[in-house]
């Protein structure tokens, strides 16, 4: 273990995965990751083509071209940059190219905010990318390595983004176990795609599909997501065996035994919640590690003894409610109608989520459990005096 910045840990893990091509465009708070990677290349520690591009759109497009020719490709972005990549995200997943990126979580403008929330990756929810949310720096580091293995699995072949909270994970120094090259080489085989651009077999990539076939292509993506569901769990187990670290497969429970109230969330906020929950009785945590594919079965199973589930997230869909909240409710509908469900929006635009905020959520959840009246969906930490 050594104390390093989160961005460095992520960059280190990417380096260990031996990407052939890295392309990125600078945007706060993603910058340290790609700067560190550029330095690895500059110091001869990483042999790869580092393409400092003209935009995020080009960043993902370069990764797409590189992946299509058979190279392992990496990019990183956040917020507006991720939004500028939007259409390329869909294109990469539709072409079934296992590009892996670090999606640093940051609020969307306007108003401009460089600070953390998860609105950006939530917006990319439907892009056909696997989304893994990291709880801490170590998990973000490890998820990069797992990510390539999952994405490049022959029966998956989907791009994958490791979502890591901006600043909170990227700019914090903590003790981290940095993977050794030999360990990663043993764990992650070289990328050997079945189909790639080559003059020996001059395939055409990116054909268009008429209405008689498009739907089937999209269905095949869905099937691949289903297989990814299995693969994510397998790779988590394989990683545990190889590295001795485990964060759950699709989900991870914490203090769930006998928990009447379950706080369901993802990302770095879980660390703070754990500190709080340790002091509470009958309150557990359900961490969503894989948001897409969505672990509906696993969530149902994990919540079967709960009375109240409080979904906590740093995003929402204006005009409705938090995206994760909607998804969790949808997963339970038709299956478990007794469960009381509450949604809480916290920490938008870098608003610090404090232990007190979590305590408030627990308080309101308890009240709901005891038959008290509380809004189904609400903001925590709003400054009423400004409104």
């Amino acid at each position: 273990m050594q104390v390093v910045e989160g961005s460095y840990a992520i960059a280190h893990a990417v380096k260990r995965c031996r990407p052939g091509v890295i392309s990125a465009y600078p945007i706060t708070p993603q910058t340290h990751i790609v700067e560190d990677l550029a330095q690895f290349v500059a110091d001869g520690e990483l042999e790869c083509e580092f393409v400092p591009v003209d935009s995020e759109h080009s960043a993902m497009s370069v990764a797409l071209g590189a992946s299509a020719v058979g190279a392992r490709a990496y990019s990183a972005s956040t917020s507006q940059g991720l939004a500028l990549m939007w259409e390329v995200l869909y294109n990469v997943s539709g072409m079934r190219l296992p590009v892996v990126m670090t999606a640093v979580n940051r609020a969307m403008s306007a108003p401009l905010s460089i600070w953390n929330d998860q609105q950006d990756t939530i917006g990319a929810r439907d892009s056909g990318w696997i989304q893994i949310y990291a709880e801490d720096i170590q998990e973000a580091h490890d998820a990069m390595i797992q990510g390539y293995k999952i994405a490049e699995s022959k029966d998956v072949m989907l791009p994958l983004m490791v979502c890591a909270d901006g600043f909170i994970l990227t700019h914090t120094y903590e003790p981290v176990v940095l993977a050794e090259q030999i360990e990663v080489d043993d764990f992650l085989p070289p990328y050997e795609p079945e189909y790639f651009l080559s003059v020996d077999n001059p395939l055409s990539f990116g054909c268009f599909a008429e209405p008689d076939k498009y739907m089937e292509f999209r269905y095949m993506q869905h099937e691949a997501m289903d297989r990814a569901r299995i693969r994510i769990k397998e790779v988590a187990d394989e990683f545990d065996k190889a590295f001795g670290r485990y964060y759950g497969g699709l989900i991870e429970g914490y203090n769930l035994d006998g928990a009447e109230i379950v706080l369901l969330t993802f990302g770095s906020i879980i660390g703070t919640i754990k500190e709080v929950v340790d002091r509470e009785k009958n309150v557990g945590i359900l961490k969503i590690r894989s948001y897409r594919p969505f672990p509906a079965d696993e969530i149902r199973d994990a919540l079967k003894d709960a009375k109240v589930v409080a979904v906590i997230e740093k995003d929402f869909s204006a005009g409705f409610e938090g995206a994760l909240f909607t998804d969790v409710k949808a997963a339970l509908y038709n299956h478990n109608s007794d469960l009381k469900m509450l949604g809480f929006v916290v920490g938008l635009g870098g608003r610090d989520v404090r232990a007190d905020d979590i305590l408030e959520i627990i308080k309101r959840s308890k009240s709901a459990m005891d038959g008290g009246i509380t809004d189904e969906w609400q903001f925590i930490g709003l400054r009423g005096e400004l409104l």
């Binding site: 072409m95 072949m157 395939l203 089937e216 691949a224």
Partner: protein
């Protein structure tokens, strides 16, 4: 046909699409007037004009869309367009 992931296609498969059906006029050639400029071969958008020493210029009516560029560009005025009877 089973779909292949990513809509990845094998090379040159468009040859199954016989575009000759698009044609209303068809090119014909008077071989004795051909001066071997090969403009017809060079400028055919369909790659549907072929030349061999034995047979001279030939049109591949499976793909010829009848655009008439070959006739227009023919240096010897050997190619002409003819209404196609179907």
């Amino acid at each position: 046909m089973k779909l292949r992931i990513g809509a990845i296609a094998d090379p040159g498969t468009s040859v199954v699409n016989l575009t000759g059906g698009w044609r209303t006029e068809a090119p014909r050639i008077e071989q004795t007037l051909c001066i071997r400029c090969f403009n017809c071969v060079i400028y055919c958008p369909e790659s549907a004009v072929h030349y061999s020493e034995e047979r001279g210029i030939e049109f591949d009516y499976d793909y010829c869309k009848g655009c008439g560029i070959c006739a227009n560009e023919c240096s010897g005025r050997a190619i002409y367009m003819e209404m196609e009877e179907k």
